[in-house]
Amino acid sequence: MADDDADDRFLVKAAFEDNNLTNTLLFFEDGEQLVQYFTSNENLNLPHMVLLDLNMPKRDGKEVLKVIRKDNRWDNVPVIIFSTSNAPDDIFVSYQLGANCYIVKPSNYEDLKELIFNVHNFWLGNKATPY
């Protein structure tokens, strides 16, 4: 997960824990760190899924998405945009750049917990991901 907001990272982590999900979670503080992770590792374990915030310093979510979708080594990693914005423009552009899904961050914890549970079930539950 790439998000510059420590609270959001904490809440997502807490939501995974409270749902008793034991997946390995990797957190990045901005888009640049995520891109570095992808490019610097020769034989990396590609993630089953990326949760990507849009508004981040250095490289924002849209730029990261472009980088991911350009390189054929990892262009099929499922990317879920996870942003506060519900602006039609942001949603439209994200899908155009190849996002698999766009989720607006829920505004309370109960909803977030439920959402993480559902996302896990949908994207990771049946293990039908490329990696």
Partner: protein, 529 residues
Amino acid sequence: MTYCIHLLNLPLFILIYLSGNNKLKILRTYFHILSILIQDVDFSLKARSMKLSTASLLNRSLSEQQLSIITRFLFGISLILIIALSYSYNEINEELVNYSKKVSQTQQVIGNLNRLSSVVYETSYSANSYIFLKDTVYVNKTLAANKKISKITRSIDSLISDNGPQNKRLIFLKAHADKFSDHIRRLARPATVVNPGAVTALYRKKNLETDSIVKLIGEMNNVEDQLLYTRVQSRDNYMKQVYQYNWIIMLVAIVFLSSAFVLLDRELRRNKFYRIDLENKIENLNRSNSELEQFAYVASHDLQEPLRKIRSFSDRLVSRHRTEVPEEVFQALVKIDNSAQRMQHLINDLLSFSRIVRIGTNPKLVSLGTVMNDAKSNLSEMITENKASISSETLPSIEGYNSQLVQLFQNLLSNSIKYHRENVRPVIRITHRLVEGRLIPGTKPSQQDIVFHQIKFADNGIGFKKEFADKIFIIFKRLHARTEFSGTGIGLAICKRVVSNHNGYIFAESTEGEGSNFYIYLPSESLLT
């Protein structure tokens, strides 16, 4: 410039003075108005030179309408004046030509009369020489001179045929001249010369005729001299007038042209200032629009972020530590969550309102019937829940923004359903008719002649007091406590925004406890760009 205007004023005053003499009253008023107008221009120019600002130039001592009337009046008068002056100039010119002809005619008559008298003397002299010297050389001379007499009288005759008394004198003159010629011819015969008695008698008769001829010529000459004098005077008079008219026409044309130039110049200058003013305003508007967009983004993202955190953490506290925290703390946490939630709603509404301000898409031909169906299907849950009945007439198609219009209808319908009377089934009737722009209160002058679609939403809800008819369209304005009816008070503000995006108008009227009517006016011809 001021100097030029004073220069312009100078011939005006001269003209006012001149026209006063000529008793041309119209001319006088015309010039008075002109000088007032020029002073007006002068005044505004002076004001400008004192303080170089747009405001002082745009300030005029005459209103737009007055100025337009005066300009038309001046133009008309100038045109009439120039035509009238040209016409009378032409008349005077004709008179002048006529009198010039008459003068030369009179001069010819005088010349001929003088020639006649000298010819008579010549004939008489030749005849006398023949009688006394008996030299036949004089016979031919006498007869040749004698022949000229009748020729001259004939030419005089053709010149003075228009003058009765002179004609009469000429007839006498002719008679005497004929007799004179006759006597001369008889004197010039060689047979007569040898008879001294006959010569003496003829000589006496001839001298008598000569006297009468000379006397008549003198009379005629006097008359012609008199005539010549008056005719020359008239001719000179007309010449002077032609000269004056030339100047007057020229001055009127100059004054007319220069005042037209001054007015035109002033209007062009003013036009330029208006344009600059408009450009500045458009620039300000664009700036404030882009600022509003930035504000919308800030509201959507940065303001929501901390609120989301407040809610998430208080929520998590409640869900994880529900059993551990005291009741008081729990209640406080619930209140924090409620307030944060309410603020989130407000921000969301503000955001959707500012998105409507920004139009973005291009207008399309939209069927309001389809819009109504879309709005109804969006509200289907609410409609069935409240057993609302919605009946609509056939609605027209207009040029507009589909999603905004759906939102408009949806907000009006949900409003009517939401504010229904207790235990009364909400009934909403939507009707349509065409209305002329001038019948709608508060239409812009440019929209007076446009036909508008009036779409009326009539419900049987709780209604509101008359004095709130305008307030309900203000953003976040509510007439009821939040405990009575939920909502932030954005719905009708959005309606108003949508309608003004379409260059239309929205009004509400209501009787409390009986229901309300909402009137939407949308222009039938597209004014969108």
